[in-house]
Amino acid sequence: MTTVATRLRRSPLDALQRWLPKLVLAPSMLIILVGFYGYILWTLVLSFTNSSFMPSYKWVGLTQYMKLLENDRWWVASKNLLVFGGLFIGISLLIGVLLAVLLDQRIRREGFIRTVYLYPMALSMIVTGTAWKWLLNPGLGLDKLLRDWGWEGFRFDWLVDPERVVYCLVIAAVWQSSGFVMALFLAGLRGVDPSIIRAAQVDGASLPRIYLRIVLPSLRPVFFSALMILAHIAIKSFDLVAAMTAGGPGYASDLPAMFMYAFTFSRGQMGMGSASAILMLGAILAILVPYLYSELRSKRHD
């Protein structure tokens, strides 16, 4: 029964075919390993050195981090990030959800309205900053508009008020990004099984109640996606500050990204700039790792 079978061989071309997927992925793998992880490591190393205008590799331990933590400007930037990030994320989510729910009520010309809410997202933060800098201009902007319209005592000079300038950043950023949040939630709402809403209506629940208690809780994944994206925008925010306030007045509207740029490239404090970049990475990791962990874990159960 057991005759010896002739084993048909694979041609060399087939061997190439088997290696092709790996070959195709190889350049990207190299790019990711070097350009992402290698460079992060490099920056990490720089943050432990006394690099100033030029990189130097003289090890100084945690000195740069200590200097950073003693730097008043860094603390202002960090505090601003908390205020800016918190308000920007909170308000964008609120507006985004509200507009999405309202827009989900079979509105005529929905497509047009959606485009209007979304177009700011197409504009760069530089353009956004330029526009809002003009809109909020103390003297010629909103300030004057409302006074011309009869509100005699109206004053709006937040842009030059060190205490309030960060709220100007929030206004511009919310304008730019909230439409995107709306779009995310609208897509999520469209994915909700309409029979759930019908079942709740049969049970006698009112529409606002149905949204608050049933529909929105089912959009948890969308909520987290939006949160991640917004947090990411907030931490990386650099261009908006550059265009709108350049960190001013003084350094009242500095954000860590701006701080990093200023110290690394203008002030010749590469070591401290690197340290600040590493701390920014730490902040992102603190948000990202739990998120990715739960994400990958739930995927594995699919």
């Binding site: 029964m1 057991t2 005759t3 079978a5 002739t6 084993r7 048909l8 061989r9 694979r10 041609s11 087939d14 075919q17 088997r18």
Partner: protein, 384 residues
């Protein structure tokens, strides 16, 4: 057309994981129709992918016409496959779908046109050739998928649950068509299904699989009449075989199984005498259609009275449920039998058709003839 043989095929995904396929031995002759049947996760689709070359086997040999193809890439194996999801190329017309494999193989255009025309005529899809797959019904997509396989005239055809996405009526129609097609073309075919009716109606040979092992390999009749173990017996047949736990006794030199209903007792003499089973707990396997109404006395068959608990008229049959040895037993009676819930029925069994299973291992205790084709298969089944 070609003879297909699998020798000791193993498939392992990771070193820590159990084998997905364990020592699979199968052989079918040129032109035969092999069914791989089993519950989901039994390894039947993996085995098919291994034959196609979409997955590499970890051990053993796959022979086509005596040559081992297990190291070859799928395109060189000269095997065509019909997928459960049909896997029609969505951006290509039906014509291009059928012609794709031929074009890749650099067949001249005139020959391609001829072949597409032949296949389209065979499957009656000539009027659909210009359409895109999304414009076809499920049944039409199914035909195109078969056409794509037929166009290449490969040595072996593989079908991976091809009918499971069709509705019930169409499924029966296409089943008949596949059978007709096979009778006409006499192609060597391996067909994966979890549907036992497809397994019984289509196959020349059936391999029942579970947990990566072939439980039994034989003709549909062998599988149905002479199942190798409880699993095979329960998997094939609808309504399924009755399994009645019983105790064996030796009386007057004959081995008897004791049956007990609330209305009587019966000693069922076993047709085959096996030593060493006295006082053992066994499982009797009786197909519903093998239980008959006890009419005229004196036909010699043992009989027992039992109370009807539920009746289910299915149209062609009347299913009557009674309790024997505290087990629900289904009897398939003629539809014109009049009986109501609570009636007392006299039921008879043909002892020659009653199967005997070990209640612990589930294996057959009274295997008459080797149910399997190859000797080593038999050894494996009876040896455990």
């Amino acid at each position: 057309m070609a003879r297909l043989e699998l020798r000791n095929v193993n498939k392992r995904y990771g070193s820590g994981l159990p084998d997905t396929l364990k020592a699979i031995d199968l052989a079918i002759d040129s032109g035969e129709f092999l069914i791989l049947v089993g519950p989901s996760g039994c390894g039947k689709s993996t085995l098919m992918n291994c034959i196609a070359g979409l997955e590499q086997i970890s051990g053993g040999e796959i022979l086509v016409e005596g040559a081992d193809i297990s190291a070859m890439s799928p395109k060189d194996r000269d095997i065509a496959m019909v997928f459960q999801s049909y896997a029609l190329y969505p951006t290509m017309s039906v014509r291009d779908n059928i012609a794709f494999g031929l074009k890749i193989r650099k067949m001249p255009q005139s020959a391609i046109d001829e072949e597409v025309a032949r296949v389209a005529k065979l499957l009656q899809i000539e009027h659909l050739l210009a359409r895109k797959p999304s414009q076809l019904s499920g049944g039409q997509q199914q035909r195109v998928a078969m056409g794509r396989a037929l166009a290449r005239r490969p040595k072996i055809y593989l079908f991976d649950e091809p009918l499971s996405n069709l509705d019930a009526k169409l499924r029966v129609e296409m089943r008949t068509e596949i059978k007709l097609m096979h009778q006409r073309l006499k192609t060597t075919t391996v067909y994966v299904t979890h549907d036992q009716i497809e397994a019984m109606t289509l196959g020349d040979k059936v391999a029942v699989m579970k947990d990566g092992l072939i439980q039994q390999f034989g003709t549909p009749q062998q599988i149905y009449n002479d199942p190798a173990n409880l699993f095979v017996a329960s998997f094939i047949g609808s309504p399924p075989m009755n399994f009645i736990p019983a105790r064996l006794q030796r009386q007057g030199g004959r081995l008897m199984a004791l049956l007990d209903s609330s209305q009587g007792r019966c000693e069922l003499p076993l047709s085959r005498d096996i030593q060493g089973l006295e006082a053992r707990e066994v499982v009797l396997g009786i197909r519903p259609e093998q239980i008959v109404m006890g009419g005229a006395e004196g036909n010699g068959l043992p009989s027992i009275r039992a109370q009807v608990q539920v009746t289910e008229p299915t149209g062609p049959d009347l299913l009557v449920f009674v309790t024997l040895n505290q087990t629900k037993v289904c009897c398939r009676l003629a539809p014109d039998v009049s009986c109501c819930i609570g009636d007392s029925l006299a039921l008879q069994f043909d002892p020659a058709r009653v199967l005997l299973f070990d209640s612990a291992s589930g294996e057959r205790l009274d295997l008459a003839a080797p149910a399997c084709v190859t000797q080593d298969n038999v050894a494996r089944f009876t040896g455990r």
